[in-house]
C-alpha cells in the first residue's frame, strides 16, 4: 500500500470522526426550533399568562386583590405558618434518615429507603384521606380527641422531652474514657433513670400549672395541625433523598477521624458532617419548600375550606377560581409563580456550586422529582 493511500484513508476517518456526532444543519435547526416551540408553548406561555392576567387590571387592582381581601391575606399568612413547621420537621427527619441509611447497615434498610420514596407515588388525595381517617370525627382517634383532646398533650410533650434527653445524652457523652464520670460511664443505668426523671418532671409541671385546657376538643382535621401533617407527609422525601447520596459519597472517614481525636458526637456533627453536606442540604430544603408551598391535593382533603381560617394559598386560588374572581386568583397564583422562578434560579446556582464543593453524584431520576 502506498503512503498516498494511507494519508487519504486517515483523512477520511478524521472527517468521519468529526461528522459522526453531527447532524445535518436542517435536522439540527428543525429539532431545535421544535424543542423551543414545545418549551415555549408548554412552559413559557403559561408563566407569561399568569402575570399578564394578574396585572390585567393595573397595579392598584393587583395590590388590592392580594392584600385588601382579608381571606387572601389570611391564606398567605397560613401558608407562611404551615410551610416552615413542616420544613423544620422534614429537615430533622431527613438528617436522621440519611444518617441511618448512609452510615449503618441494618435489617430492613431497603424497606426503609422504599418507605421514604412512598409519598412520590401515593396520590396526594389518598394521603389526605388517610389523615382524615385517623383524626377525623368518624376516624380512629377523632372521638377521643374531641371529648378531651388536650389530655394527650402532657404525655406527648413528656415523651418528646425524654427523646430530647436521650439524644442530648449521646451527643454530649465525651468518648475519651479517662475523663468520664460515673454519669456518662454507665448509659444503661443513667439513661433510664434520667428519662424517668425528665418524664415525671415535665408531666408534673404541666399538670400543676394547668397548661392545657380541660374537656376541650383538639382539632387536627380542618385545622392547622392537619395541614402541617399533610404537608409534611407529601414533602418528607426531598431532604432525605438529597442527603443520602451526598452522605454516601462523602463517606464516614472524616467523622471517624474526628471521633477518634476526641470530639463529642455534637461537635463531630457540627464541625465535620454539616460542612460536608451543606449544599446537598440547602438543595433539599429548596425543593422541599417549593413543593410544600404548592401542595394542593392532600391539603385540600384535610383543610375543610373554611374561608379565612384553613385556606392555604393554593386552596385560595381554587376558591377564587370557583367564584369567577379570576384576577384575584391569578394575583395569588403570580406570587406562587414567583416562588417557583426563584426556586429554579436557586437550583441552577446551586448546581453550578455543588460539583466543586462536595463531589455530588449527578442527580438520578427520583432526585429531580419535586
Amino acid at each position: 500500500m502506498s503512503t498516498e493511500a494511507l494519508v487519504k484513508s486517515s483523512a477520511v476517518t478524521l472527517t468521519i470522526r468529526r461528522h459522526a456526532q453531527e447532524d445535518a444543519a436542517w435536522v439540527r435547526w428543525s429539532l431545535t426550533l421544535f424543542a423551543l416551540a414545545v418549551v415555549g408553548l408548554l412552559v413559557v406561555v403559561p408563566v407569561v399568562n399568569v402575570f399578564a392576567e394578574a396585572l390585567s387590571e393595573g397595579l392598584r387592582a393587583y395590590w388590592n386583590n392580594l392584600f385588601a381581601d382579608p381571606d387572601t391575606r389570611q391564606s398567605i399568612f397560613l401558608t407562611l405558618t404551615v410551610v416552615p413547621i413542616a420544613l423544620v420537621a422534614n429537615v430533622v427527619f431527613g438528617l436522621a434518615a440519611a444518617w441511618a441509611v448512609a452510615r449503618f447497615n441494618f435489617p430492613g434498610r431497603t424497606l426503609l429507603t422504599a418507605l421514604i420514596d412512598l409519598p412520590f407515588s401515593v396520590s396526594p388525595v389518598v394521603a389526605g384521606l388517610m389523615f382524615v381517617l385517623i383524626f377525623g370525627l368518624q376516624g380512629y382517634l377523632g372521638p377521643l380527641l374531641r371529648r378531651d383532646g388536650y389530655s394527650v398533650m402532657p404525655y406527648l410533650i413528656s415523651i418528646l422531652g425524654v427523646g430530647l434527653f436521650i439524644l442530648l445524652f449521646f451527643l454530649f457523652r465525651p468518648n475519651s474514657h479517662q475523663r468520664s464520670q460515673a454519669f456518662w460511664k454507665y448509659p444503661w443505668l443513667s439513661v433510664p433513670i434520667g428519662s424517668a426523671a425528665v418524664f415525671s418532671l415535665l408531666f408534673f409541671i404541666q399538670q400543676y400549672f394547668h397548661i392545657w385546657p380541660r374537656n376541650q376538643s383538639l382539632k387536627i382535621i380542618f385545622a392547622t395541625p392537619g395541614l402541617v401533617l399533610a404537608t409534611a407527609f407529601v414533602t418528607f422525601p426531598f431532604v432525605a433523598r438529597e442527603l443520602i447520596p451526598v452522605m454516601e459519597a462523602v463517606g464516614a472517614d472524616e467523622e471517624l477521624a474526628a471521633v477518634s481525636l476526641g470530639a463529642s458526637g455534637w461537635r463531630m456533627f457540627w464541625d465535620v458532617t454539616v460542612p460536608n453536606i451543606k449544599w446537598g442540604l440547602v438543595y433539599g430544603i429548596i425543593l422541599c419548600n417549593a413543593r410544600a408551598i404548592g401542595e394542593f391535593g392532600a391539603v385540600y382533603v384535610v383543610s375543610g375550606h373554611i374561608a379565612g381560617k384553613t385556606d392555604t394559598m393554593p386552596l385560595r386560588i381554587e376558591k377564587l377560581f370557583q367564584e369567577y374572581n379570576l384576577p384575584g386568583s391569578f394575583a395569588v397564583a403570580s406570587l406562587l409563580t414567583l416562588v417557583a422562578i426563584f426556586t429554579l434560579i436557586a437550583k441552577a446556582t446551586l448546581e453550578r456550586k455543588i460539583p466543586t464543593t462536595a463531589g455530588l453524584p449527578e442527580p438520578k431520576a427520583n432526585e429531580t422529582q419535586l
Partner: protein, 261 residues
C-alpha cells in the same frame, strides 16, 4: 438512636395512616367494597385516569427524548435558560398550572381564541386533562435521559458512521437501544405522577361524572358526601396500584443502572 427517630417519624407519618386506610377498608364487607370500587362511575374514572396518564406519558416520552437530545447535542443561545425551564413544572404549584391551562384554552384565552374555532377545546375536556398531565410530567423523561445521553461514548457512533450507516440508522440502531432503560424509567415516573395528579386536573377538567372525572376527584366527591367507606375503598385501589408502580420503578432503576454505559 437516629434510626429509632427515623422509624418513629415514618411510622407516625406513613405506616399508621396506611394501616388506618386498610383497616377502614376491611370493615366493609366484600360486597360493599366491590359496590364502591366497581360502579359505572368509578370504572369511567379509572379508565380516564389511566388512559389520560398513559397518553400523556407517551407524549412525554417523545417530547422528552427530543428535548434531551437538543439540550445535550446542540448549542443555541439561551440553552441554559431552556434547560432550567424544563424543571418549572416541578417547581410550579400544580394549582397554578391548572389555573393557567384552564384559562389559556377557553374560548377567550390566549390560545383558545385560535383553537376553539378549529374545534379543539383544551379546557373542561379530556384533551385538557391530557394537556395538563403532559405539562406536569414533562421533566421526568428529560431528566432521566439527559445524563445517559451525556455519558454516551462517541466511539460507538463513530464506528457506526465509519461502517457506512446514515445518521438515522446510527440513531435507531446504536443510540436508541442504550437509551431504552432511561426512557422506560422516565415513562414510568411520568405515568405514576399522572395517575396521582389532582391539583392541576381539578381546574382543567370541569369534573363531570362519567366524562371528565378522574379517580382522585371521585374520592373527594365521595368524601364530601361523607361516604368515608366508599372513598376509602377507591383510595385502597389507588394505593395498591401506586405500590405496584413503586416496586416497578425501583426495579427499572436498578435495571437501568446495570445497563449504564
Amino acid at each position: 438512636m437516629t434510626l429509632g427517630y427515623t422509624v418513629f417519624y415514618l411510622s407516625v407519618l406513613v405506616l399508621i395512616p396506611i394501616t388506618a386506610c386498610f383497616l377502614k377498608a376491611s370493615t366493609l364487607s366484600f360486597h360493599e367494597f366491590w359496590g364502591a370500587v366497581w360502579t359505572e362511575r368509578a370504572r369511567a374514572a379509572y379508565y380516564l385516569t389511566f388512559g389520560a396518564a398513559f397518553i400523556a406519558a407517551l407524549v412525554n416520552l417523545v417530547l422528552g427524548l427530543l428535548l434531551a437530545w437538543v439540550l445535550v447535542r446542540y448549542s443555541f443561545p439561551g440553552k441554559k435558560i431552556v434547560d432550567s425551564l424544563v424543571d418549572l413544572p416541578l417547581a410550579l404549584p400544580t394549582a397554578v398550572g391548572g389555573l393557567v391551562y384552564a384559562s389559556l384554552y377557553v374560548q377567550k384565552g390566549w390560545l383558545g381564541q385560535y383553537l376553539v374555532p378549529l374545534g379543539i377545546r383544551g379546557a373542561y375536556t379530556r384533551l385538557g386533562i391530557v394537556l395538563v398531565l403532559v405539562f406536569v410530567g414533562l421533566p421526568f423523561v428529560v431528566r432521566t435521559v439527559q445524563p445517559i445521553l451525556e455519558d454516551l461514548d462517541p466511539e460507538s457512533e463513530e464506528a457506526a458512521a465509519s461502517l457506512g450507516s446514515t445518521r438515522w440508522q446510527a440513531f435507531r440502531n446504536v443510540i436508541l437501544p442504550t437509551l431504552y432503560p432511561a426512557l422506560i424509567t422516565g415513562f414510568a415516573l411520568a405515568f405514576a405522577r399522572g395517575i396521582g395528579e389532582y391539583g392541576s386536573v381539578v381546574f382543567v377538567s370541569g369534573n363531570m361524572p362519567y366524562k371528565t372525572e378522574i379517580a382522585p376527584i371521585l374520592i373527594v366527591a365521595r368524601l364530601e358526601e361523607f361516604a368515608y367507606g366508599e372513598a376509602t375503598a377507591i383510595a385502597v385501589v389507588l394505593l395498591v396500584i401506586s405500590f405496584i408502580m413503586l416496586v416497578l420503578i425501583n426495579r427499572l432503576e436498578r435495571w437501568s443502572m446495570r445497563h449504564e454505559y
